[in-house]
Structure formats: C-alpha cells, structure tokens
C-alpha cells in the first residue's frame, strides 16, 4: 500500500515538473514567433519599391532607406573581407597544426575573451585604434575592421569544430599516400568541412550586420546626401538608422520605423535561414 502511494507521488511530481517546463518553453518560444510576426504585420505596409530603392527625404520622415541598406551591405562585405580568411586560417591552425601546449591554451583563452567583450567596448577600441590612431577617420574601413575583430571568435570556433568533425582516418590515409600536411588539408579536409565553415561564417556575418554599438563611433552616420564612394567614407546603416529614427527624431512616422525594422529583420533572418539550409543539405550528402 505504501509503495503504491509512493509511486503515484513520483509520477505526479513528474507530471507537474514536465508541465512547468513545457510552460517555460512555450513562454520562451511564443515571444520569438510573436516578435517576428508582429514586425512583419506592422512593417509590411511600408514596404514598397520606393522604400527599398529610394533616398530619404524630410529628415528621414519620408522616402526610402536605400543608403542604409547599401551601407549595411558594404559593412557586411567589409567585415567578411577581413574576418573570413583570417578566421578560417586561425581555425585551420588550431585544428590541424597546434600542439596541446601552453601557447595553444593561451590562444584559446584569447578567443574566448574576444567572444565575451561587449560590443560597445569594441566600438571604443575601434575609435581609439582605427579612427584616431591610424587616422582612418569615421569610415567604412574603420567600422569593418572593428566588426571583423568582433566576428573573428565566432568564425574561428565554428570553423574549428567543422574541421575537427572530419574523420581523422582521412588524414592518416592521405599522409600514407605521400601527401604533405597542407595537401591533405586543402584537398580533403577543407572540402569536407566547408559546409560547417560556411554556416559559421554566415552566422558570424549575420551578427555583424545587426550590430549598432561597434559602428556607432567608427563608421555610422545618420544622414549622408549620397552613397559612400570609398572605404574612407562614412555610411548609413540599417541598425543605426533604426536606432536613431526610433529614439531621436521627433514626429517620426511609425510606418517608416516598422518598415526599417522589417528590412533589417529580413536581412538578418534570411542569412540565418541560408545557414540552416546549408547545414542540413550538407549533412544529407556527406560521404562519411
């Protein structure tokens, strides 16, 4: 009789616990979906060809946001140019060359650190080094370099994981057939790790595209009469634009705010979707 009571108790506890956790998950998931749907609905009506391809008028209160879109594209590209080759090379070093010693541990610590530095501190650093010390001024160059260092740890850690996932036996066989280490890496390892690396790169760039604080003092401008002509020009950018029009411009039409938010959201989320698709398709076609 006692055991029957106890066992019923245990299962009741489980049912309560599972319900609590399920509610937690629902409370976590619903805001995510609600956010996206909300912005889609509210901002959808602002989207038009003129909005996407036109320049702003009347102190941003009318017209389009093309320069912000182009600016974000430039910044994302600039970030990619610096962070992708460096990040992948560093990942190759950690995965294929580095020995398990103190120096390697310090490198890993440094990467963990870079990952944890607040984005606004990156902004300060970018201001101090690129804008002032190296005299690049408030420019796409300075902002891209700042964003690149911020994006580096993401690219390095996801790429290293992708490289390590490739079976060790491939390396052993390749070496036994007379390959050098680099031949093994370039002909087999990188090729097989590429989908994972690509996913990491896209996710890293996605974050860079959405960041405001690092570009605040290093490259972002609120109003520019024309598109940037060189890397030494400042630029408008979607996240910064959204920030300013939602907090600092009086009598800003709500439509345009939501529209800008929607464009930024779509920009960022589509990168997310592309990365997820690459990841699942690669998993299906794997030859190991």
């Amino acid at each position: 009789m006692m055991t029957k009571f106890l066992s019923r108790n245990r299962h009741t506890v489980q049912r309560i616990g599972f319900t609590a956790i399920t509610m937690m998950v629902i409370l976590t998931i619903i805001p995510i979906i609600a956010t996206i749907v909300f912005i889609l609905i509210k901002g959808g009506s602002a989207i038009s060809w003129e909005f996407l391809s036109g320049f702003p008028h009347d102190g941003m209160r009318a017209g389009g946001i093309l320069p912000a879109i182009i600016g974000t594209l430039y910044l994302t590209l600039g970030t990619a140019v610096f962070s992708v080759p460096l990040g992948i090379a560093a990942a190759i070093y950690l995965s294929e060359y580095a020995k398990d010693n103190q120096v390697t541990r310090i490198i890993r610590l440094a990467i963990i650190n870079l990952a944890g530095i607040p984005s606004v501190v990156y902004g300060l650093f970018g201001l101090g080094l690129f804008v002032l010390f190296l005299n690049f001024g408030t420019s796409i160059l300075a902002a891209s370099l700042t964003l690149s260092i911020m994006t580096l740890p993401v690219i390095i850690s996801t790429s290293e994981e992708a490289l390590r996932a490739v079976p060790q036996s491939f390396r052993t066989v390749s070496i036994s057939l007379g390959a050098t280490r680099w031949q093994t890496i370039s002909r087999i390892i990188i090729k097989e790790a590429l989908p994972g690396i690509l996913t990491g790169v896209i996710l890293g760039l996605e974050r860079a595209a959405g960041e405001t604080a690092p570009i605040l003092f290093t490259g972002a401008a609120f109003f520019l009469p024309r598109l940037p002509q060189s890397p030494f020009d400042a630029t408008m950018a979607l996240p910064y634009h959204l920030f300013v029009i939602s907090t600092q411009v009086p009598e800003m039409p709500i439509q345009i705010q939501y529209g800008t938010a929607l464009v930024l959201l779509v920009f960022v989320l589509s990168m997310n979707v592309i990365a997820t698709v690459i990841r699942s398709r690669a998993r299906a076609r794997r030859q190991w």
């Binding site: 506890v13 998931i29 890993r108």
Partner: protein, 298 residues
C-alpha cells in the same frame, strides 16, 4: 617541381601559424588601447569622486557607482529570467521533446539569438514599455525591469545552446542506469543528468550572464538612462543607466582627450576586465571538468 611545392607549403604554414596567434595579438591590442585612453582618468579624477554616487559629466561629476549598480541590477534581473527559462528549455529540448520537435525548437531558439539587439530595443520602446507602464501602474515604462526582460530574452539562446550541448553529451548509460533502477524520467533529469552536466550548465549560465552584461543597444533604448544609484528592489521599477549605455550615449558628444573622454574609456576598461574574469572562470570550469573526466576514465 617538388622544391617549389615545399616553398609554397612553407609560406602557407607560416601564414596559418601567424593567423592562429593573431587572437592573442587582438586581445592585447584592445587591452592596450583601453588602457592608453582610460588610465589618464586616474590622474585626472581622484578615486573618491570616481567611486561616488553622482554621475553628471557636464558638471564634472564622474561617480561611476550608479552606472555599476545599473548594470548590476539589470544583469541580475536578466539572469533571474534567463537561467530558469534557459535551462528549462535546454532540458526540454535535450530530455523531453520528441525528435521532430527538437529539429524545430533548436533553429527557433537560434533565430532568437540572431535578432539584432536594436530591433528588440525598438519593440521594447513601442510595445513592452507602454504595456508595463499600464500593467504595473508606473510613471514610466522605461525601467530596469524592461531592460531585464529583454536582456533575459537575449541571453536565453546562449544559455540554451551551451546547456543543451552539455546535457546532450551526458552518456546515455547514465540515464539508462537510472531508469533501470526504477527512476522516473523527471527524477533522472534532476538527480543524474543535470548533476552530470553541471560544469557545462554552469558555463552556459556564465556565458549568458556575460552576454547580458555586455548588451548595449537594448538597454540604452529601454532602461530610461537615469544614472541613479539603485537602492533595493524598488529600483527595478525605475529608470537606471548601465555602463554600456553610458558609453554609447555619451561617446558621441565628448571632446577627444577630455576628462569625460578618458572616463568613458575607463568604464570600457572596467567592462573589459569584468568580461575577462567571467570568461576565464567559465572556461576554467570546463577545463577542470574535462581533466577530472580524463582522470576518472583512465
């Protein structure tokens, strides 16, 4: 032909090696520049007024305590939300959800992690803050609580992904052993799986907290930006200002080289050191746990 191949290989190897070391270079560079522009503060502002309660740069009051307390209270609030929801969701995904649901939930949570903080701040201003003002009958909706709610949401994906990884890597044998002894799934989770994943879950929490401390745009947009020292629980419902928001808001207006400028860099240094400490502790927890596991298995 072999000779040129080995030359190429040599150069490539050197390039790859220097790329590996570059991370150290960048951390050092960042630290150096923060130091360079932040240390003069100690010469220009004496310690007693620095660690004071008044932040009013226009009249040269550079007391950073209200900023510290602002960051603290918002982060604490965020942690109180992110830890239960994050670990709970991780447990659900790893231990309870059926396979097909896992495939939907994981990308969905990852999606949240990708949302730009400025978008969340934007919604915070337009939706969350008026709602809280009405719902809690407050003079303003731009409070520490608003910031904590949004920050908690931002930190949750970090906590979920790391904790879920940690729970996933607990060997199946542990769970099966518990079931064989008659434990329910729930008991297994709490008494076996979670303790086994303890170090990974701890790391997840620390990384989530680190993420919350470092957030800038969201807090700047919704916490009201009043540099008032937080005193007790009531401050949760009034405006505060975080260190990150201070830097972001005021950096644009300072004169290069002025005291205000140096103080902002000083605050940046403080943030850098805090995140350094949090991350070193978080990673040493992982290292130590790995070493222990190696010893047990050998």
């Amino acid at each position: 032909m072999e000779k040129s191949l080995s030359w190429r290989e040599f150069i490539i190897t050197r390039l790859i090696q220097s790329s590996g070391y570059s991370a150290i270079l960048f951390v050092a560079l960042i630290f150096f520049f923060l130091l360079r522009e932040g240390l003069p503060t100690l010469g220009e502002v004496d310690a007693s007024s620095l660690f004071n309660f008044r932040w009013y740069p226009i009249e040269s009051y550079f007391g950073i305590l209200p900023l510290l307390s602002g960051s603290l209270i918002v982060t604490l609030g965020a942690a109180l939300i992110a830890v239960p929801f994050g670990i709970g969701t991780a447990i659900y995904i790893s231990e309870i959800a059926p396979r097909w649901m896992r495939e939907i939930l994981k990308p969905l949570v990852e999606l949240l992690g990708g949302l730009p903080s400025v978008v969340l701040g934007f919604l915070g201003i337009l939706v969350l803050s008026p709602f809280l003002r009405v719902f809690l009958d407050l003079p303003t909706g731009l409070t520490a609580l608003t910031g904590s709610l949004l920050l908690g949401g931002i930190a949750v994906p970090t906590v979920v992904s790391v904790a879920e990884d940690a729970l996933d890597s607990v060997p199946r044998a542990y769970r099966e052993g518990a079931w064989a002894l008659g434990a329910t799934k729930w008991q297994t989770i709490w008494r076996v799986t979670l303790p086994a994943a303890k170090s990974g879950v701890l790391t997840a929490v620390m990384l989530g907290v680190g993420r919350a401390i470092g957030e800038t745009m969201t807090v700047m947009m919704v916490t009201g930006n009043a540099p008032v020292l937080a005193t007790g629980l009531g401050s949760l419902f009034s405006p505060v200002r975080t260190m990150t928001a201070t830097i972001a808001a005021e950096m644009g207006e300072v004169a290069n080289g002025s005291t205000h400028y140096h103080v902002l860099f000083f605050i940046g240094m403080v943030l850098f050191i805090i995140s350094l400490v949090v991350n070193v502790i978080a990673s040493s927890v992982v290292f130590r746990a790995k070493k222990r596991a190696e010893r047990i298995l050998s």
